[in-house]
Symmetry: C2
Subunit: 392 residues, 2 copies
């Protein structure tokens, strides 16, 4: 079955949209949040656990899978779905973002980007054609164009030049795509410059993609500027296709993104924060190691239906985290992922019921006091650890 996006409803008071993507691996209700599965696994979760949490689609990181275990190995295994035993849709990034983040280890040219592996220093080259080839080998349901992610800050001239390269690469990606049953999304760049964002949206629409992403946000710019750029850019994207805000974000950012008409989100926040003991609840954030939870027999969030909240107390979760037990990573991750996915369910229900603006207002007012998110760059893979050290 080939890809299609259906738009069921646009909220009359906001830009919020209710829709459905149909992919080769099934349907995805939008707005949707995609947990990040960097290395062929959403960290600390089994595929069964992801389904139980309500995940309908996950994101895979092409850069990491290309380097290890290698896209040929995954292709020979029947694709990423079979390799990791995830039979629902997968969106893959192009690998570009990770490569651009390598700094001195990469060099951008018209043809593509030369880079060295962060694992062993080996030399590699990624072109638009190669990015598509790798993603097709992975068997991705939704592929992303290789883009040149404009950093922040970037002056207008730099942003314009970077954007033009992104457009030329987007065209080459479109031409390189060989699988008719898979989708390819273009990525709008242009930094925080509104006229460039408009030009980028128009240029990509002219090439024609199955969906459109807003790239180059959540890369260090002030939150106000991100929201302004989002607000200005989202309405410029073709209304009949899915809109994806890459690497965003906090629960508050997601609600605002939906407000501006975004359909897809991904972020490492729920999983990475879980491993660092920062838990999202409907009554605010919980830093589980705090002494106040030492004897707290209540569940983390009484309103949550996840395995963690149905079974364990805050005191137990605190004990596991302080004792550095692996089960802490499991239970915390299960909860945070479920929190994000349940939030999306509430958002969809609110849009369907014509009550999204009221939902948004109550959500924003209730949570203002702890609005500052601890992860600044949400567009990332779930390997870029900072505070944590959680691996076997």
């Amino acid at each position: 079955m080939s890809y299609r996006f259906e738009l069921f409803k646009t909220d009359p008071h906001t830009g919020a949209r209710l829709g459905r993507m149909t992919t080769a691996h099934g349907e995805v209700r939008t707005p949707v949040f995609m947990p990040v599965g960097t290395q062929g696994t959403v960290k600390a979760m089994t595929p069964d656990g992801l389904k139980e949490a309500g995940a309908e689609i996950i994101l895979g990181n092409t850069y990491h899978l290309y380097l290890r275990p290698g896209h040929e190995l995954i292709r020979d295994h029947g694709g990423l779905h079979r390799f990791m035993r995830w039979d629902r849709p997968i969106l893959t990034d192009s690998g570009g973002f990770q490569i651009f983040s390598l700094g001195p280890l990469r060099k951008i040219a018209e043809e593509g980007v030369h880079f060295q592996s962060h694992i062993d220093g080996s030399r590699h080259f990624l072109s638009p054609e190669r990015a598509i080839e790798i993603q097709e080998a992975l068997g991705s349901d939704i592929m992303m164009c290789l883009d040149d992610c404009t950093p922040y800050p970037a002056d207008r001239a730099y942003a314009a030049k970077s954007m033009a390269l992104t457009h030329r690469w987007a065209k080459r990606c479109r031409e390189a795509k060989s699988r008719e049953d898979r989708a390819l999304f273009g990525i709008v760049q242009g930094g925080v410059h509104r006229d460039l964002r408009r030009a980028s949206a128009e240029a990509l629409a002219a090439i024609g993609f199955d969906g459109y992403a807003i790239g180059g946000l959540s890369v260090g710019e002030p939150k106000d500027l991100m929201m302004e750029t989002l607000e200005a850019t989202a309405p410029l994207l073709p209304a009949g296709q899915a809109r994806y805000l890459m690497g965003v974000g906090t629960p508050e950012d997601i609600v605002e993104g939906v407000h501006h008409g975004i359909d897809l989100f991904d972020c490492v926040m729920p999983t990475r924060c879980a491993r660092n003991g920062l838990l999202f609840t409907n009554h605010g954030k919980v830093v589980i190691k705090n002494a106040r939870y030492r004897t707290d027999q209540a569940p983390l969030d009484e309103t949550c239906d996840c395995y963690t909240c149905r079974n364990f107390s805050r005191a137990y979760l605190r004990h596991l985290f302080i004792a550095r037990e692996i089960l802490a990573l499991l239970l915390n991750t299960i909860h945070n992922v479920r929190f994000y996915l349940a939030l999306m369910e509430r958002i969809r229900a609110a849009i369907a019921g014509g009550a999204f603006e009221a939902f948004r207002r109550s959500f924003r007012d209730r949570r203002t006091e702890d609005d500052a998110g601890p992860v600044a760059d949400g567009r990332a893979d779930d390997n870029a650890n900072t505070e944590e050290e959680d691996e076997p």
Copy 2:
């Protein structure tokens, strides 16, 4: 319901026994293997996962739980069962073994043992009475006496003196026990000296316990000597009660233990080896990081019914382990624990069918080539890491 042990069958050709323990938290079919839950969790497993693997009873480490989060906290939480959401039986050790392993941080006296916490250096005192008090606070179904674990090597005089102290402490434990609905097991010591082992078995039987453990084995002695001592000691224990071989061991050791009439086993091997990527299968051990598994699409063990083997390939398990993913710890642990528990099921079926000796012979012959176990001291907690570094 108070504790009882029923012996259904003793194999006519060997010492193998088929039985059942009834505890306050349900029944346990013997011979049984107890996964080790050092800090209120069997590392990298959920309670649901443990049940799915077929665990009927687990072991908790009193020393660790006493220090963190503290037995009063657990008691106030309704006991260890409720704290960790495990509603099946729990056996707790006395804490003595960990304390004796502290070396210079502990001092043994007639009254008990003074020690310093390995976490923060704080000073503590554990007496037989205190060991029972703590285990009753935890709500253990089967408590163990505080014993003086005789090290190897120990000359006869030392072993005799140490054993006598164990007996005096055993009597004090028996007198300190206040919960009628919970069981208390005595621990036979005596090093590798047969006459001492006999004296110890008789002294403990004279005090009278609900079950009897063989301590002081698997503490560094040669495997031959361990087996000889086991063979000489097991038949001396009261036949009508459960017999527990502490800290043992490899799958081969367990089969031999059953052969000599042992009913209960515990060991950190399945869980710790899993985290180190050493996996037990019915065709031998698998070191999952080996290059030979790089493209291997077969399950780890085609005869295994665990979640890991039903879903994932060796190539995927290798990738996860090499990429240091948390899911590697989960999937490896699920498999190894299931391997041990399935082995016990096969042992029980063989005894029930009168075919244990044939089972033992085929098991031993098939596995001789990789008989050397990587973990020398099996009687331990699952925190004493050597090769690994797997915590959050």
